[in-house]
């Protein structure tokens, strides 16, 4: 970290519940290698105690501090000030798009978390499954006494949903994170349930290949790749099912 401080103007989105949004500017002397979240916290602690924002872990494991920095979705706890502005520059801080704003920088993630839950999302997975399937598995040989496991990459920060152009107009679209979760669950446990959930107008087919989700994902989940891979899996399943002996008729014959 450098010793020299920068003067940076932070233009922060402000809004009370149900009130009109406005922008307030705070000018701070910052270390350029500080993170945006540190600056937001300092604005709250030293300049304006009414500012509301979400945060918890400060090192990209919890996903609470997603905001838009100069219009772009960022996990603010790992975004250095020097990566988005220069000395004397201006940084705009806005809440995520496509989520209801509760106040200032706080958005309501409730619906998103419940959708993640319904997708069967499990936040811990065996190490081999926690990696992306096209990656080299981390290290297989160190499973001396047990198979290592890992908290999976998706931290449910909502950046991908905020940046997605399809999620911009369609509130029913479950969004990249949920589809990526369905893919991850299907890779670990290939059951029809995940196929059926993904093959839906609120699911896979609302994606229009803008690939923004993968661009903004702070954890390397690669939702776009997972969506496309899931499409392949769904389509091959549907094509195979044409030739499969019909077990569904039997199921339908039974009273529900």
């Amino acid at each position: 970290m450098t010793e020299q401080l920068w003067q940076v103007h932070f233009k922060v989105h402000r809004q009370r519940t149900g009130g009109k949004p406005y922008v307030r500017t705070f000018t701070l002397d910052v270390d350029p290698e500080e993170y945006i979240l540190d600056a937001v916290e300092r604005i709250w602690a030293l300049h304006d105690r009414t500012l509301t924002y979400r945060h918890a872990c400060h090192h990209s494991t919890c996903g609470a501090c997603g905001m838009r920095v100069n219009g772009r979705e960022k996990l603010t706890c790992i975004t250095t000030i020097s990566s988005v502005t220069q000395n004397g520059g201006t940084v705009r801080i806005d809440p995520l798009r496509n989520f209801p704003v509760v106040s200032d920088l706080v958005v309501d993630m409730g619906n998103f978390f419940l959708r993640m839950d319904r997708s069967g999302f499990n936040s811990v997975a065996p190490l081999a499954a926690a990696c992306l399937p096209y990656e080299q598995p981390l290290t297989a040989e160190n499973s001396i006494d047990h198979e290592p496991e890992r908290l999976v990459d998706c931290i449910e920060c909502g950046l991908c949903i905020s940046v997605c152009p399809a999620a911009n107009t369609d509130k029913e679209y479950v969004g990249p994170a949920v589809l990526a979760s369905l893919h991850l669950m299907y890779v670990q446990n290939p059951t029809q349930e995940f196929i059926d959930q993904a093959d839906h107008h609120t699911g896979l087919w609302r994606c229009h290949s803008a690939y923004e989700c993968t661009e903004v994902c702070p954890s390397g989940v690669d939702p776009a790749w997972r969506i496309m891979d899931m499409r392949k899996k769904v389509m091959s399943d549907r094509i195979k099912s044409i030739f499969r002996p019909r077990s569904s008729e039997k199921k339908n014959a039974q009273p529900a």
Partner: protein, 122 residues
């Protein structure tokens, strides 16, 4: 998501596959179209007589009509997909479906009639 499932899926793998296949076939047909156009009518079909002569080949008539069908299916499926992005209510969507099917059918029938009429004037 399970709770939010509407009784009928509004879009699924079948329609997506149809869109992709029609899309790819359109690309192939367009390629053929350009090549054929240049071989059959090097200067382009710029007079009425040229067009009528061109439509004397039954393969051309079949090709043009199938091309029209593919384009209508592809563009209207695409248009419907864009409209689905606007999160229409089931009622609105029913109207949209109806209108798209009607316009599509009219376009195909009209186009086929046109092609056969021109072919018949030879």
């Amino acid at each position: 998501m399970r709770e939010s499932l509407s009784p009928k899926r509004l879009e699924g793998s079948g329609r997506w596959l149809l869109k992709i296949f029609t899309g790819l076939l359109i690309v192939v047909f367009l390629g053929i179209h350009f090549v054929v156009n240049h071989l059959v009518a090097p200067g382009g079909l710029l007079t009425y007589a040229d067009v009528v002569a061109y439509f004397q080949n039954p393969i051309i008539v079949v090709m043009e009509i199938s091309f029209l069908i593919l384009v209508v299916i592809h563009s209207f499926l695409g248009l419907r997909s864009i409209l689905l992005d606007l999160n229409p209510s089931p009622m609105v969507l029913r109207v949209v479906n109806f209108v798209l099917v009607v316009i599509g059918a009219v376009a195909v029938i009209y186009g086929a009639w046109l092609a056969l009429t021109i072919a018949g004037r030879g």
